[in-house]
Symmetry: C2
Subunit: 171 residues, 2 copies
């Protein structure tokens, strides 16, 4: 049985790897070790949760609940700490839709979402990931990124476009 347990009452199962992706469930291990971080069970659990929910915009607490389903020993503090590491490493992007809590999305990995363009209702908080104009946006954004990187000496890691307004119900 591909399960092992620890004193904390955690259990790590093997993750199903979708066919067609070049990188397995532990694609991030090299990132961690190169940066001097250790591979721990809580971190594996958190990355598993992020990978399995890459199309959602989970908050830290929602990630905690998600992790908690399978690894009840992992604490909310560790979720926050791990997310900070992941954001700093550029593996995860932190969004803010104005509802007072940060939201997180995988930037790299087997289920990474690469397009972070949103339509946000400022009243009810509904978020739509729109995928129209990807190509046109990409062309312009790449050009802008190149120019800004050089002019302002920034090492640009990501970008976002956000339209805000009122959705049909809230108008």
């Amino acid at each position: 049985m591909p399960t092992r347990s620890t004193d904390l009452g955690l259990a790590l199962s093997e993750v199903e790897v979708p066919r067609g992706f070049g990188r397995g469930p532990r694609w991030w291990c090299a990132n961690f070790q190169d940066a001097g971080f250790r591979i721990t069970l809580p971190r594996q659990a958190i990355l598993e949760a992020l990978t399995n929910n890459s199309t959602k915009h989970l908050s830290a607490e929602e990630i905690y609940f998600e992790v908690h389903k399978r690894y009840p020993g992992v604490g909310l503090t560790t979720v926050y700490r791990t997310l900070e590491i992941l954001v700093n490493m550029g593996l995860v992007f932190r969004f803010d839709f104005g509802d007072g809590k940060s939201r997180y999305e995988l930037l790299q990995g087997p289920n990474a979402v690469t397009h972070h363009h949103h339509l946000v209702c400022t009243n009810c908080g509904r978020v739509i990931d729109y995928t129209e104009f990807i190509e046109q946006e990409k062309g312009l954004l790449d050009k802008i990124e190149k120019v800004l990187s050089e002019k302002y000496k920034f090492n640009i890691k990501s970008h976002q476009i956000q339209f805000s307004g009122l959705c049909e119900k809230c108008k």
Copy 2:
């Protein structure tokens, strides 16, 4: 003397109106009254502070300090309440650069900034308002806004573009 005082110890001075702008210091009064809100001294002070600092990205507390210089009787609670009204009316835009506090910028009025495109350092929090590519961005964004408004039945009020990364010092 163009100053009057109240029981709260407030003092409202006349505001210098820059020549060349079509709208005076009270351009927002109609917005407030049409929406059923009253014109009060604290609200005048807060709009004055926003107008005089339109190129900065002030937090609620910074706006409070700014207001406090001339109107020491105005409380932080009122600053928050007024900002919420202004954001809902579309006169002010609320940003979040990831440092845990919201930032506010005038969308309308004599000193309004219309271009909300930023380059943010995720380490030190430095924010650069870049003005390159305004025309090209505008063309594409207007087109996207039109299509998204119709498709998703949104009443879009504003947009933002944000590039995140590390500045020269933090690399």
